[in-house]
């Protein structure tokens, strides 16, 4: 498997306040120098708590937000620097689906129009019948019946809307889809349907996913490799098996320990941190996690740990690894 996307030292800072003297109002380092590669046809899970920058990362990669620094290499081409026009071919190859299925579809467009529009705008299909056939094909692909075409988004259920959003993303035959919490707003019984659909499509269309989520069960089910983020940085990056079996970073361990189990008889003794995630405007020095870490020692407070390999396809950023 060769790499499809490579991200090098990507940064996205948000400056608060407006007008002059922006910096004094504070900087949120939403994405603070992350690097990873995504191989063809794999699923990279991006997990972390709210505000850790996982969503921003997804959007920066698609250039929906402008990066503050860093490189985004798509099949070796740095798309960070491309102009609007030069970017167009890449827009076709990379798509996104969102958490909020009701907000991600234009309420004033019928399903048919929403799906046909990208094809027309990119001048892939001109003829009306052909367009209709293609839209029908797309609907079938995501498990909807073609007579949904004249419906409006508000006439569909949440699960159906998410299917439409997926169909729209697929319209341009992309290679990479960023899935930004695609199932977390759905009912439990619908979640499984969408997850299955995503997996099915991946095989059928040879898709690569960046799967952003906070639900560790779902991520485990769908991902091949997983990156754990904390306050804008990747703290652990590993293959799924290795991560769930041998998490190295205390934060990852905490996350895994916090997942409620499905077995009522076993009352687990969860690893609970007293603290809360720090204010992203003013993250702690050194290792961002040291204020909540039960194993923190002096070095953690002043020196930032770097991501280092601990195993085959498994790296973590923690000073404990040096001990």
């Amino acid at each position: 498997m060769s790499s499809l996307l490579e991200v090098r030292n990507l940064k996205k800072y948000f400056f608060l306040g407006k007008g002059a003297g922006k910096e004094q109002n504070g900087v949120v380092r939403a994405v603070d120098g992350i690097s990873f590669t995504v191989k063809k046809c794999e699923t990279l899970g991006l997990v972390g708590e709210s505000g850790c920058g996982k969503s921003s990362a997804g959007r920066v990669i698609l250039r929906l937000l402008t990066a503050t620094a860093g490189e985004i290499l798509y099949e070796g081409q740095n798309i960070e620097q491309l102009s609007h026009r030069e970017l167009l071919p890449y827009r076709r190859k990379m798509q996104i689906i969102f958490q909020d299925q009701s907000g991600s579809l234009n309420p004033h467009l019928t399903i048919g129009n929403a799906l046909g529009e990208p094809l027309r705008v990119h001048r892939l299909i001109y003829r009306k019948e052909e367009l209709k056939a293609k839209v029908e094909h797309l609907l079938e692909l995501v498990g909807l019946s073609p007579d949904q075409m004249c419906r409006y988004p508000h006439e569909l259920s949440g699960g159906q809307r998410q299917r439409v959003a997926l169909a729209r993303a697929l319209a341009l035959n992309p290679q990479l889809i960023v899935c930004d919490e695609p199932v977390s707003a759905l009912d439990v019984s619908i979640q499984a349907q969408i997850i299955n659909l995503l997996k099915e499509l991946q095989q059928k269309c040879g898709l690569t996913y960046i799967f952003i989520a906070h639900d560790l069960r779902v991520v485990k089910h769908i991902s091949d490799r997983i990156a754990v983020m904390y306050l804008g940085k990747i703290v652990e990056l590993s293959s799924k098996e290795s991560l769930y079996a041998r998490a190295k970073h205390p934060y990852t361990q905490a996350l895994l320990a916090s997942i409620p189990r499905l077995t009522p008889s076993v009352r687990r003794q969860p690893l609970i941190f007293s603290g809360e995630p720090p204010n992203p405007l003013n993250p702690p020095a050194g290792c961002h996690f040291h204020t909540r870490c039960p194993y923190a020692f002096a070095r953690c407070a002043w020196e930032e740990p770097l991501l280092q390999a601990v195993d085959f396809d498994h790296s973590a950023a923690c000073h404990l690894l040096d001990r």
């Binding site: 708590e49 019984s189 069960r217 996350l255 916090s258 499905l262 609970i272 809360e276 995630p277």
Partner: protein, 329 residues
Amino acid sequence: MVNTLPDILLELKNLRTKFKTFDGEVRAADGIDLTVHKKEVLGILGESGCGKSVTALSIMRLIPSPPGEVHADKMELNGVELQSLTEKQMSKVRGNEISMIFQESFSALNPTFTIGEQLIDVLMLHQRLDRGAAFHKAIEALSLVQIPAAAKRLSDYPHQLSGGMRQRVMLAMACACTPSLLLADEPTTALDVTIQAQILELLRWLQSEKKIAIMLITHDLALMAEIAQRVAVLYAGVVVENASVQNLFTKPLHPYTQGLLASLPLLEAECERLKVIPGGVPNMLSLPDGCRFHPRCPHCWQICRQEEPPLFPQNGSEVRCWLFAREMK
């Protein structure tokens, strides 16, 4: 049956809550029976729109009317019929004997008052304390929910606190007068996993140490396994299964419960495809005839399409499914 036990705290019989909307009448709760015992955690499990929040708000008598309308054959708290109380008497019950916390911790606290003001207000109201005493009691209440530096936090506004902290403040307000029943409506859904675990721990502690019975409303199966003793599963406005948590997770009876459990990805095992309940949650405006679940049910037979099943007792559980009628005969 369980109802005969002496330690019944809340008894709810045939709760029907309707909303008149532009498109017609929505029966959000359509004959719900529930019993909460003293000091227990009862889980109410259901997907969006199944009527679980509506049930809690109906008990609190907080359903806005119009458009809402609440009827129940029985709604007794400690033997007192809540429906017969005047609005004034009811507001004494709220916060004092039953209280409620909500999912949206950000919008659920008044943005223009400090949390101290809000907390002290509740204390002065229910415990007839003077300001000074209420102030000390407020600090106590905040320390109770493990908020560090409680005295300092009193002068904070809600927007200065994090989500987890706000949820703790809500808990402090709800439990300041040590109610006998706490209705917790998705209290951890909007929170991060690590914070979620903290709040769960706190709820468990309130139940075991403060002897507060908790009715936990959630869509999260795993949460039930963590904390509940008994679980009522709601589907489209009715209770479809009533079971102890052990029974629910080891031998789920209703096809819907079985489907839900099967559709969750497991941490412990790998599988390529998840099992799926086909179709979607029914539209509350046009419910299917017969059993509400029958269009999605793998075991559907003739009678399911025609007649709505009652709750059948089965091995100490109750289940609303015709499959168990056969076994009874």
